[in-house]
Symmetry: C3
């Protein structure tokens, strides 16, 4: 992992094979980020799980993929839930035939590279209810 | 609706059932945002209309959807058009089968939650021509 | 091309028919941006090429499209590679039937308009290895 810092921004690069969410947690820990926003993320993913929240099924319906995909957009935020750093992440992805898929990101491995930017919030505190998951700001 | 502020940033959460554009207008009004940029937006939408601008048909071709979708990316800007706050918004969305769709967002209802971030511009003024819709900066 | 500046942000609009990457290079040159992040980009594209990086084929597999598409998300960064300004860009796009495609953006022409925002980095320097293309921060 490599990164740079400027003001409230952290630019990072994750290498091939790294776990995306574990790597983000390391960035957050290393830069004391408890609340923040993902500003950008491009590169590729493989071995990932994306979810769709279904009310009928009362929970996330998760699909697993092993093949590499281009990471088109990487959006989300960083909050504290149960005293732990929590990443709420959504991704748009493209397959080799250029068709796009996406969802709530549960897990992913970096393929080749992932270049991203986090904006740290230092005055505002984002917290998530431990039961409902509802985000609040203070 | 809940929100927090830090510098030129407003982080917001809209509840299930809220109209997305009306809610954004309330945020803009509450924080005196006349010009700005959407930095992030994730969550879910339902009962939405997305458009494709067709030159041949000399206007937007709009499709209506009622089913819930994951909001993968939420991009756009805030400007003044005809003395009103105008949101130019594009979205990438995922259906329950993970396939992605998208377009120019005309209307949407929040499904479950929408968590987003707006960056307020205070020195630069974004305005849109009342007839052509062309964006200019001053 | 028109643009406005506020702090480390440049908001721009590119007109119909302009080459996207050449226009971005002009913005970067005009505002002395050697390192930066694309924060937003919406509008439409036509005559574009998007790629998928294939390890098996040891390089980018590129698809050409001529038809107009909505630009749903525009992500990436600006770095220096071989003493030149380099844009690493990924896009999510929607066809007239609302279906989404995307990939690594190789080339595109603006259709109608493209409205975007770049954040300039002035303390952090993003550079890319001339051979491997690997991004590093200093």
């Amino acid at each position: 992992m490599s990164f740079g810092k400027e003001g409230n921004l952290v630019v990072f690069r994750f290498e091939d094979g790294k776990d995306v969410i574990e790597s983000l947690k390391r960035v957050a820990k290393g830069h004391q980020i408890q609340s923040g926003v993902i500003l950008s993320g491009i590169g590729m993913l493989r071995d990932f799980e994306i979810s769709f929240y279904s009310r009928e099924k009362m929970g996330y319906v998760t699909s697993k993929f092993s093949e590499p995909v281009e990471l088109l957009s990487f959006s989300g935020n960083i909050s504290i839930r149960n005293n732990e750093t929590f990443f709420h992440l959504h991704v748009a992805l493209a397959k080799e035939d250029n068709s796009a898929i996406g969802g709530h990101l549960k897990r992913a491995t970096v393929h080749n590279t992932l270049e991203g930017v986090i904006m740290k919030l230092s005055e505002m505190k984002l917290t998530r209810d431990s039961e409902t998951g509802i985000l609040s700001m203070s």
